[in-house]
Every structure is written in structure tokens, then in C-alpha cells.
Amino acid sequence: MNSAVTHREGKLERFSYDDQIVRLFIIATLIWGVVAMLLGVTIAFQLADWHVNLGVPWLTFGRLRPLHTNAAIFAFCGNAIFAGIYYSHQRLLKARLFNDTLSKVHFWGWQFIIILAAITLPLGITTGKEYAELEWPIDILITVIWVVFAVNFFGTIIRRRERHIYVAIWFYIATILTVAVLHIINSLEIPVSMTKSYSIYAGVQDALVQWWYGHNAVAFFLTTPFLGLMYYFVPKAANRPVYSYRLSIIHFWSLVFIYIWAGPHHLLYTTLPEWVQTLGMVFSIALWMPSWGGMINGLLTLRGVWDKVRTDPVLKFMALALTFYGMATFEGPLLSIKSVSAIAHFTDWIPGHVHAGTIGWNYLLIAAIMYYMVPRLWNSKIYSLRLANIQFWTATIGLVLYIVSMWVAGISQSLMWRAMDASGKLVYPNFIETVIKIVPMYWVRAIGGTLVLTSLIIMVYNLYKTAKAGSISSEPVLEAYALDDSSLEPGASAHRKLEGWPMIFAVLSLVAILVGSAIEIVPAVLSKSFIVKMDVVKPYTPLELMGRDIYIREGCYLCHSQTVRPMAHEVLRYGKASEAAEFVYDHPFQWGSKRTGPDLARVGQKYPNMWHYRHMYDPREVTAGSIMPNYKWLFTDKADYQSIMKKMNVMKTLGVPYTQEEIAGSLAAAKAQALVIKDDLVAAGVPQAILDKEIIPLIAYLQRIGVDYGKSEVQP
């Protein structure tokens, strides 16, 4: 098309931006930010000193940790993303958001979801899949609100008055689509009740889908949207055009095509097929290039305003955020190299890495854009540059403490795990030794975290004063020319209006296709999910199944892994290396990603029932210096035997080979097995009353983990 004609514009239109919704999201960001970091600090102290668990069920580490991650990612970063996107999207397209009501639904809907999360997770209502712990009704709600967001977003694109769709918007688009897909695929589960469901995938497959999601939650929730914001706010704040627009386009497309495949690097040395692991590794390394392409583009944009960087808080936080982004995206590929992963995986190095990204990149960039938006939206000046400065340094010092302490903790513990003497024996056969050694580092981390929280509170105060000093003026009216091709051929103006529809259509169809293929594929997956089979591996008994749900509820997987890697020292410490076939009945898989405590893949029948009894009552009775909380309520709360048949049925539909008889007799069977364990405990001096308590099923499950293959003669 002739460039002159593409520039032909329609009539001059008056419009205004919906800044109120942006203000709301900003306020939400700040509130949830404090909550998320407060939770983070709490669990950090719980790791440093178990007493902080306070013996209250809903305050234990296992239940607060998912709340912390969810709050940090979806509440803090989520609201910040929406604020930033809605602010920049309108201005880049010279158009008000598609529909004010949708905007409001989006905002309140999202806050409602967060509140539901804040209630359900502490109650132990969880799917047991990291970063996707929310149960199915909330999952559906998330999907709905996300679609509302998508419609509002793409609708605005259709109504735009600026023909060119700036690169930032492309990053937003990628975010919206990919997150939708990931969320749907990973959340496929079959409900047992309103508050309980089982993932349709089992074991290795569940693991792959989970980490394909888990990694991309990081990629497309904590990276692409923030890169988009970076491409808008950095040039604006520096008042310089982005260093290279071509580079930014290449950056976008290469990221989109590579990122999605890096997931498997979370599963190196597991029973995931070798080649899938290698694939994940290769793509994670390839990822290094586009990541740094973006960082360089950002930093070079700031080149020439370094003088301003020293004084302007916005630029200052951006520069640091970009630097940490560079660091984290360099560390990431490094960690996904198999040999490095062998050392780093399951250790505190990983949380260290994650927080280098979330605090160093996400929090600092959020700080930057908040300092950019708030004065403009409340017609005011930043209340105190000095406070901003203090915040900057508090955050930096806190973060450095965090990262360094986790490096030290991670590497030293990992070395202790693998330390073997000349005779081929473990130097630290007792796991607890390796824990006690790093507890000081946990204190350092907790202090670092506290500093970061403090810095955030300083900002909240600073921004509050900023907003208070200002006033919300009536939305300024703007003028711009509508896009209009009516001059091209008669009656083509309608065509213009339609121009955007292919886009929406494409988006919706994509989602539709995915949902469709998902539903279609499920039976296939289920029916075929027993190809890799091992005769010795049998389904869980009803009681064990109940125990497993308690295990999931208490978030045990957050500190205990359930997979033995094929490494001499692990086999020595735990037993036979894990086999894929062991997990075919695990809906969901419970491999975990962190070993704050020892691996449990071979814990079954390792200790007598009584050991577990005492251990759960007070871990320190059996393991001096343990940092695990007490689970006293397991000894008073009654186990839920009523839903067992429902659970068995669901498991059957998921392909677990329970016979009708087994299901019919499940309640009786459970009670019978409970009786056996009770008697064993009573013999050791426990009161009869224990029979119907939760501890019984839990012991049953613990005693079963990894037994079938672990105790069998079958060799890999």
C-alpha cells in the first residue's frame, strides 16, 4: 500500500484515557506487594527457626509457602502488570480501554481470586502443583477473568487511533495468549468435591506438563509482560527512543519461539526421557541470546542519560532492574546445564536464583514504573527523592544478602550431600547435619528479605504521600485522528472497523482449539498412560490414598522431594534410583523441587510406624535439630473416611485399575488397614483414641512410598 495512503487519517476525535482503573491496579499492587513480601519474610524466619510456625495449622510453612508464591506472582506482579499494561496500552494506541465495565470486572474479579487464594491455601485446599496450587473452581474463575482481560485488551487494539502496534504491545499479546494456554493445559483436573480434585496426568507426564507450565509461568508472567513494560517505560522515562527498534522486534520473535521449550530443565536427572531433558537444556542455553539482546537494548537506551540515572529514581531502579535481569538470565541457562544442575538442583541456590529474578527484576522494575505513573496519575511530584534513594539501597543490600546467602547455603549443602570418603561411604550420612550447617544462612536470608520488605514499605509510604499531595484532575480530553481507509475505495470504512476482528477471532479460535484438543486428547492420554508398566508397582490402598491427600494438604512436597537421581551418593543415601513406572498412579506427581528435608522416595518401611508417629508429633524427638514444624493437629483431627469412595471412583476414571469390588469395599478396607496400624502404635504405648485421627492414613502413605519397586528384586 502506498505509504501516503496508509497515513490517510479519518476525522478528528476527542477521547480520554481510563486512568481510574490504572490507579486501582496500582493501589492493589502496593497492598498485595506488602502482603506477599510479609509472607515471604514469615516463611523465611520459619526456616531459620521452626518455632515461628507457631503450631497453628494454617500458619505452617507448608501452607504459607504456596500463598507467598501465588501472592508474589499473581497478586503483586499480576496487578502491577495490569496497571502498567492498561496505562501504556491506551497511550500507545491513542484509545480509551475497550469497555469500562470489563475493566472493572477485570479488576474486582482478579482481587476476588486473590482473596479466595488467601483463604483456601492456608486451609490446605491445594492441588499440590507448584505455582498452580489453586483448586479447580478458582482455576475456572481465573480463566474467565483472563478472557475478560483479553477481550478488553484486543478490543482496544481494534479501536486504536495509532496505526502502528508498538513492540511493547506484542509482548503483552504473547503474555495473554501463552498464559491462557498454559493455565488451561496444566489445570486439567477431575473434581472430587468443590475443594478437591486430581490432576488428569500422572507421574512423569504430570511432571513434564507441570514444569512446562511452571517454567513458562516465569517466562510469560514474570518476563514477557515486564519486557513489554520495559520497552514502554524505559524510553519514556529516559526520553530517548529505544536503542534499536529492529533489535526489539527480533528480540520479541526469537523469545517467543525459544522460551516455551526450556521447561524440562527443571527435571534434569529425573526419570523424564533423556532426550526431553537434553531438549530443555539446549533451549534454555539458546534462551541466553534473546534475553541479553533485550537487556542490552534496554541499557543502551539509557546510554547518554547516565547523569540522570544518578538522580532520577525511575531511571535508577530501571538500570538496576535491567542489570539483575541480565544476571538472572545468565544464571538461568547456566543452571540448566546438566552438570551444574546436578549440584544446584534441590538446593537453596534455586530459590536464590528465583529471587534474583523476582526481586531484582520484577520488584525493582515495578518500583520504577510506580514512581513513573503515580506522580502523573495523581498530578503530583514524588514526595521524597531521599526516601526513594533509601529504598533503593535497602532493597539492593537486602537482595544481595539474599542471593549470596542462598549461594553459600546451596553450594555448601550440595557438596556435603555428595561428599564421600575413600571407602565410598557418605561423609554426612545424616541429612540433618547438612541442614544445621546452613541454618545461619537462613538467618542471613531472612534478614535480607526483611530489608527488601522494608524497602517496599518505604515506597508505599512515599507513594502514598505523593498521591496525597496531588489531586485527581478530571480526565484530560485528548484529540487524535481516527484510522480510516475510506479514501481507498468507496464504502471501505466498514472494512477498517472489521480489520481488528481477524485478530480477536484468531485469539479466541486459538484458545478454542487448545481447549478442544485438550478435551479430545484426555481420553487418549488416560487410556495409554500404562504403557510403561512394572508389575510390582500397584495402586495405593484407600487408606494410603487418604494419607497422600493429607501429605499434599500439608505441602510436604515443598520441602521433601520424591525422586532419587541416578547418582552414586543419592543411591547410597536414599536407595534405588527412581523409575518412571513407579509414578504411574501418582495424580498429581509429588517429586518436589527442593530438599529442605531429605528425599522421601524410599522412606516406605524405612522406619517403624512409631517413628513416624513421634516424628510428626515433634520431629525433634527423633531428629535432634530438625527444623520441621510440629503437626500436632494430625493427632486430634479426625480423618475424612467418607469421601474415600468418591476419590477411588475419580482415580478409576483417571485410569487407576481399581476394580468395582475394591471401590465398593474401599471404606471397609481403609478402616481395616487403619486398625492394623493403630494396633501397632498402641503396642508401643499410644492411646486407642488415635484410630480415627489423620495421623493413621498419613503413616500408611509414608510407609508405602517407593516400596513396591524399592523393596523388590526388580532391577532397572
Partner: protein, 783 residues
């Protein structure tokens, strides 16, 4: 040295606002005027934006002309130059001089707010083209006039839908080719890596199929340009780097499909598609950079020249402004002082002095009277004249020169494109090797295996690294030079400049600034009115170059403005008038009071500030330097001495043809010039450099254009070229090294898709790094 507050250029002679504000400094009157216009229009925010945006290209100072551009409203002009939308709105595109930063974008897109009738004005900064949409009551003359006053000289561009559409089509196709190649190779990598990593047999077949499917669009659509180029090369019996590449691509494609059919899950599509992607990228960027330089649009407008005044036969006072394209035979044209004569013709009214230097190089003015012939390309230095057009377009003197320029291009020495030379040998060698390999591995009698081996060799020895490295290196040099204001037409220039032996320089306008300067000023007798006040008051309105230089000369002195009675300017003679009852005259280099000489002065043209230095720098390259001037012996000698050249190093009284003769007879020549009289020489020289302020016609002839004043870039450019070639050779060696490795591997039978997948990116990466590192000197220059 302080910078002009409008154009940010260094200020030599500072100008300041006459009004109370005393704002400044400005580098020239043009910038000052624009500054005031912008403030008058309440657009002062422009400077705010410019201050905050710490980012802009260097730009040349503004020079304002008082053109009315009324020709833009002519019916037949609009027909050709504007696009009429069916709701009666006109769109016209202008190439704007002096677009350099965000502030320009801001002020130009504000046009609708202060120019009546403008619906929209959108600026394309990469092309420096603004497209303006007008309501049917609007006038483009008005738009152009405003743009001129804002300091952006507008040049209307022909709105040729077809060529425009074609261009955009091609550009988008190029973009698509790259995108598809990139996406496909990304996905191919996904499945290839899985296969390398040992994806179980249950996947191998399927994954292999996927790689093939993804490879098809890459090898057909994306790679099409390579096939086309090879075919071209093939037709004119030459070989280009694209031939081995196409060969590898086709072979690889055939092999991959063949293997798939035979259930062998092995192919080279991952390497090949990645290679296509990288190649397309590097070429795309090279093209992008070249168009940033002397792009087609620029030349297109340069040749159109400025508007002219057409005079009504019956009434010489009635004039209409027309575009030179529309001059017809026997038209009467009015040529104002300091204007270039647009067509060959004969003077019908008025008499004046002409400056032929642009056409002939002579700095002496030529007096013309009624019935004298005048030639296009000469400049009117005296007063208004009216001429009758006798010849137009290619029949004119200028037109003839133009034509000889065109065949000059033909005569340019063919550049030895090093990469293509190499690829020639390369193809030959690779072919021989693969035949050898075929025979070698045929020993065991397995034809299929032997054939595979041979084909594999062809694929893995594809000179991709080389093909990527060369454009990359040129991209870097061209873009970096452009930042320094050295605009290079194409990469071939670099290769030629690196070998330069003979440097020829034009005098007038190249070594000298093409303006007179008072060299001596003697006061012989006292006078009632001081000589400088006489000049100040008599020459006030004169545009004669001598007058101008006199006014510049007295500027520093305290000047009194006095009442003058019966002020006369006799064109070509001088001025006279009565001040304080004394009769003063300024004529033939003297000032007279009541016919008694009181003062005499000498004027000579001024050597560019950096000319001497530039020539010394040139000498460091062991080149033979010579001035070629159309001017008189004595003048040339004087200048030659000033810049430190011996009598052997200049030739004077050279006609344009003579100059080109000298150039033709000399090897590896470089010509530096500005005027039309240099144009032919510029085109015949292996490399032609047009200096800042050069005439449009010589810009057409040149390969390099110095977009900022001064000669010193020339020597630097030669250094840059030499260093760039060093890098190119280094990359050459590097990539050949990698190829020889793959040859060895192929012969030892160790080559496989996997090894290829490792070697190919590795080689490309190392040449990329070597390019970025450049050389010590280059790094210093780029700093």
C-alpha cells in the same frame, strides 16, 4: 567552540538575535530565522523536546530561500505529484532536508494545527519523507512555504503508485522471507535437537517429517533470492557466492526428502534453514544501511532542482512560478541574483555577471548582455535577467554532462569483489573434492553411500560464514561512516578506496569555499565618511559576491547607518550614492570619494579551514595528489601553495572533458569535487567523492557524499576502507579454515548432520565476533 542553539553545529562566526533577547549563538542567519519563526508560531516547545531528547543525528546548518512554491498548485503538477482520494483530499509527499530528531517529528506532525487546510502530516523518519493530506481548499504551496521557513527544505516526490507499491511489496516480501526462515528454523531446531538427543523410535519418524515440512517453505520461498542470483550469475557466465549456497540448499533439500522416503531420519535442515535465516538477515541489514545513505529518493529529488519564474511574453512584470520539469522551449524565464540558470538560452532583457565555476571551474565572472548565450548550471551573480529558453533537458549543456556521466558509470573499473573471486575457486575446489570423495568412498562398491558422502561434502562446505561475514563487515563500516556524516553509496566503494593510488581534487568549491574573501584592504586617503561606513551604507542591499564579502569584512567594526540619496547599483560595475553631500562609488576593487580613490582592496576565494590538514593526512597514504581546476593558472598556483602542493601537483584551465581524460588515463583514481564541471570526472573516477554543498548533478555522479562541511573525512575514509578490507580478509581465512575442517571430517567419514549443526553456527559466530572486534584503528575511529 559553542554549538548553534538551533542546529547544534559548531559555530564559526556567531550570529545573535538582534532583538532584546540577544539569544544565540547561531551558526548562520538561516538557523536564526528559523528559530524566530518557530517562536513566532508558539512552537517553542520544539526546543524543550530537543533539549530533553538527548539523541539526534548530526545535521547541516539551514539556509533559507525565499521560494514561493506556487508551482505546487499547478493543475498538471498536481496530476503528476499528488494523490487524489475519492473524498476530494490531496496527498503529496515531500522529501525534507534537515530531519534529525524527535523534535522534527513533533513540529512537522503539528502542521495541521497552524497550516490551514492540512488534514494530517505524517513523517517517515527513516526516509525523511513527510506525506501531507490536504482538504480540497488547502494549498501545497502554503505547506511547502511553511516547511521551508521551519528550516526543512521540501522537495516534492513523484507519487508513482506502481513503483511505490512495488517497492513496499519487495520490502515486505524480504521481511516475510526472514521471518518465515527464522520461525521455521526455530521449530526445526526443536525437533532436530530431540532427534540428536535420541528421541525414541516412536517419535523419530514423526519428528523427521516435521523438520521436512518446516524446511519446505524455507528452502523454496525464503531461499528464493539465492536461486535467482545464482541463475543471474549463471546466465552471464560468472559465479557468485550464491551459487555454492544454492547448491548446498538444493542438495540438502533433495537428500533430506530422499532420506525421509527411505525411512532414514537424517537431514541437514536445521543447519541449512538457520543458514538461510542468517544470510537473509545480514543482507537485509546491509540493504537497510545503504538506503539510509544516498538512497534512491534523495537522488530522485536532487536532480529535480529548484523552481523557476516564468515570465509573461506581453508583460515582463507578470511572472508565475513553475517547476523546472515544466519548462518548455521558448519560454521566457526570469533569473534572480544568486539563482542557477535552469536551461540553456539567450538573454532577452537585462545584463549581468555569471559565475561559470560550477560548469567550468573558472572563478572569474563572465559578463553577459542581451542576445548573449547562457548555459544551465551557471549562476547569476549580478541582477535580474530574463532569458528565452533555447534548449531543455538533455540537450542542455548540463544534460550533455549528465549523459556522459551515465556512460562514465559504464567505464568505471570493475571492482574485484573478493568474496565472489574466492567463491569461484571455491566452487571448483569443492566440486573436485566431492568427486574425489565419491571415488574414495566408492572403494567398497557402495554407490549409494559414496553418493551420500559426496553430497554431504557439498552441503557442509557451503561458504555460509563467508557469505554472512562480508555483508556484516560492510554494514558496520557503512553505518558507522554515516554517523560521521560520510554517506557511502555501496559497499564496492570500500574495496576500491582501499586500493587508491591517485587522488584528484577540484579547486573551486572543493579546496576553496567558493566564496570571495577580502585578502587586502588599503586606506589610501582620509575621507569624510569612513570607508567601512561607505560600504555599510552603499552595499546594504547588494547581493554581488564582492559586496557580500566586503560586508562580511567590515562586520566586526562599529558601523554607523547614514542617510543615502540616489543610491545606484550598476550591474557588474558597482554601486554609487551620496552620503553627507559626498558622492561615493565602490567599483573595480576601490572606493572613491567624489571620484578620488580613498581605498582599495583585493578579494580572493578562501581555502577551506581544514584543506591543508586534509591534504597532509592524504599524503600519509602514499597517494599521488593533484589539483584539477578549470580556473586560471595564477589562481590555482596560489591555492596550491597555500595547501602545500608543488607546481607538479596541479593542472589548471581544465575543461570538464579534459578532467575526465586525465582521470581515465590514471589507475585506481579518486576524484573529489563539487561542481557540474567535476561531474564527468567524478563518474569516470574509480571513486568519486562529492563534498558538502556539491551540486545535485555531481552528487549523482559521486559514490560518496560528505554531508558535513570539510575535506578531512576523505583521508579518514581511506583508512577506514583499508582497515575494513583487513577484517574482510581475516573473516575469509576464518571461514575457509572451518570449511577445510569439514572437508577433513567428510573424508574421514565423521561428518553428520550433528557435526554440521555444531560447525556451521560456530563458524558464523566466530566471524561475527571478528567483525565486531574490527581492528585497533577502526575501534579508535569509531570512538
Amino acid at each position: 567552540m559553542s554549538a548553534c542553539i538551533h542546529c547544534d553545529q559548531d559555530v564559526v562566526t556567531a550570529y545573535f538575535n538582534e532583538d532584546s533577547t540577544k539569544e544565540g549563538p547561531f551558526c548562520c542567519r538561516g538557523c536564526l530565522t528559523v528559530y524566530n519563526v518557530i517562536h513566532a508560531k508558539g512552537l517553542a516547545e520544539y526546543y524543550e523536546i530537543k533539549k530533553n531528547v538527548s539523541f539526534f543525528k548530526k545535521r547541516a546548518p539551514v539556509e533559507i530561500k525565499s521560494a514561493q512554491y506556487s508551482y505546487l498548485d499547478d493543475e498538471d503538477f498536481l496530476k503528476e505529484y499528488s494523490y487524489l482520494s475519492n473524498n476530494k483530499e490531496q496527498t503529496m509527499e515531500f522529501y525534507l532536508e534537515g530531519i534529525h530528531c524527535l523534535a522534527c517529528l513533533w513540529i512537522i506532525e503539528k502542521l495541521p494545527e497552524f497550516v490551514s487546510g492540512v488534514v494530517s502530516s505524517k513523517l517517515n523518519m527513516s526516509r525523511s519523507v513527510v506525506s501531507v493530506v490536504l482538504k480540497n481548499d488547502g494549498k501545497f504551496s502554503r505547506v511547502a512555504y511553511e516547511l521551508e521557513n521551519l528550516g526543512y527544505r521540501p522537495h516534492p516526490l513523484k507519487m508513482n503508485q506502481d513503483t511505490q507499491n512495488l517497492k513496499t511489496k519487495e520490502e515486505r516480501a524480504a521481511m516475510l522471507r526472514i521471518g518465515i526462515a527464522g520461525a521455521a528454523s526455530g521449530n526445526i531446531m526443536l525437533y532436530a535437537v530431540s532427534l540428536y538427543a535420541g528421541a525414541g523410535p516412536e517419535y523419530a519418524g514423526f519428528f523427521n517429517l516435521l523438520t521436512v515440512l518446516f524446511a519446505i517453505p524455507v528452502l523454496t520461498y525464503s531461499a528464493f533470492p539465492f536461486y535467482r542470483n545464482s541463475w543471474m550469475a549463471f546466465k552471464n557466465k560468472s559465479l557468485s557466492i550464491d551459487v555454492p549456497i544454492s547448491l548446498a540448499l538444493i542438495m540438502g533439500g533433495v537428500m533430506g526428502v530422499y532420506n525421509m522416503i527411505n525411512g532414514v531420519n537424517e537431514n541437514y535442515f536445521d543447519s541449512l534453514s538457520a543458514l538461510v535465516f542468517l544470510l537473509l538477515m545480514s543482507r537485509y541489514f546491509l540493504k537497510a544501511i545503504q538506503e539510509m545513505g544516498l538512497g534512491t529518493t534523495d537522488l530522485h529529488f536532487f536532480y529535480q532542482g529548484e523552481s523557476v519564474l516564468k515570465v509573461n511574453e506581453n508583460n515582463f512584470h507578470m511572472t508565475t512560478e513553475i517547476h523546472p520539469k515544466f519548462i518548455k522551449l521558448n519560454d521566457l524565464l526570469k533569473v534572480a541574483p544568486m539563482q542557477i540558470i535552469p536551461a540553456d538560452g539567450v538573454v532577452v532583457s537585462g545584463e549581468t555577471y555569471l559565475n561559470n565555476s560550477l560548469l567550468t571551474g573558472e572563478s572569474d565572472l563572465q559578463k553577459v548582455l542581451v542576445n548573449d548565450d547562457v548555459f544551465s548550471g551557471t549562476m547569476n551573480m549580478g541582477s535580474d535577467i530574463i532569458i528565452k529558453v533555447k534548449k531543455i533537458n538533455k540537450d542542455t549543456r548540463l544534460g550533455q554532462i549528465l549523459r556522459s556521466i551515465e556512460n562514465g558509470w559504464g567505464h568505471k573499473s570493475k571492482i574485484i569483489d573478493i568474496t565472489n573471486v574466492v567463491s569461484k575457486f571455491f566452487v571448483a575446489i569443492v566440486f573436485m573434492l566431492s568427486i574425489a570423495l565419491f571415488i574414495w568412498s566408492y572403494k567398497d562398491g557402495n554407490t549409494k553411500h559414496a553418493l551420500e558422502q559426496a553430497l554431504t561434502l557439498l552441503i557442509v562446505t557451503c561458504p555460509c560464514a563467508l557469505a554472512i561475514a562480508t555483508p556484516l563487515t560492510f554494514i558496520r563500516t557503512l553505518s558507522k561512516s554515516a554517523q560521521k556524516g560520510i554517506i557511502i553509496k555501496d559497499d564496492a566503494v570500500i574495496e576500491k578506496l582501499a586500493r587508491v593510488k591517485n587522488v584528484f581534487i577540484d579547486k573551486t568549491g572543493t579546496i576553496t569555499e567558493n566564496s570571495l574573501k577580502i585578502s587586502s584592504f588599503y586606506i589610501l586617503h582620509d575621507s569624510t565618511v569612513a570607508p567601512h561606513d561607505v560600504i555599510h551604507n552603499l552595499e546594504k542591499h547588494s547581493t554581488h559576491p564582492l559586496a557580500v564579502s566586503l560586508k562580511n569584512y567590515i562586520k566586526p567594526l562599529p558601523l554607523k547607518t547614514l542617510p543615502v540619496t540616489d543610491l545606484k547599483e550598476i550591474p557588474g560595475i558597482g554601486v554609487s550614492g551620496i552620503i553627507e553631500n559626498h558622492f561615493y562609488e565602490i567599483k573595480n576593487h576601490s572606493i572613491y570619494e567624489d571620484h578620488k580613490i580613498i581605498c582599495s582592496f583585493e578579494a580572493s576565494d578562501t581555502v577551506r579551514r581544514d584543506a591543508k590538514h586534509a591534504i597532509e593526512k592524504l599524503r600519509e597514504h602514499q597517494v599521488h595528489i593533484q589539483i584539477l581546476s578549470g580556473d586560471k593558472e595564477e589562481y590555482v598556483q596560489k591555492i596550491a601553495n597555500e595547501v602545500g602542493l608543488t607546481s607538479a601537483e596541479y593542472q589548471s584551465g581544465m575543461s570538464p572533458e579534459k578532467k575526465s581524460q586525465v582521470i581515465k588515463s590514471s589507475e585506481q583514481s579518486l576524484m573529489i569535487g563539487d561542481g557540474a564541471n567535476d561531474a564527468i570526472a567524478l563518474s569516470y573516477a574509480d571513486t568519486g567523492i562529492a563534498v558538502f554543498g556539491a551540486m545535485d548533478i555531481s552528487l549523482r555522479a559521486a559514490d560518496v557524499y560528505l554531508s558535513l562541511p570539510g575535506l578531512s573525512p576523505v583521508a579518514e575514509l581511506i583508512t577506514i576502507s583499508k582497515e575494513t578490507m583487513k577484517v574482510i580478509y581475516r573473516n575469509l581465512v576464518l571461514s575457509l579454515f572451518y570449511n577445510s575442517i569439514s572437508v577433513v571430517l567428510a573424508f574421514t567419514g565423521y561428518i553428520s548432520p550433528l557435526t554440521a549443526a555444531i560447525i556451521m553456527p560456530l563458524s558464523s559466530l566466530s566471524v561475527l565476533i571478528s567483525t565486531l572486534i574490527g581492528t585497533k584503528k577502526l575501534r579508535m575511529i569509531w570512538k
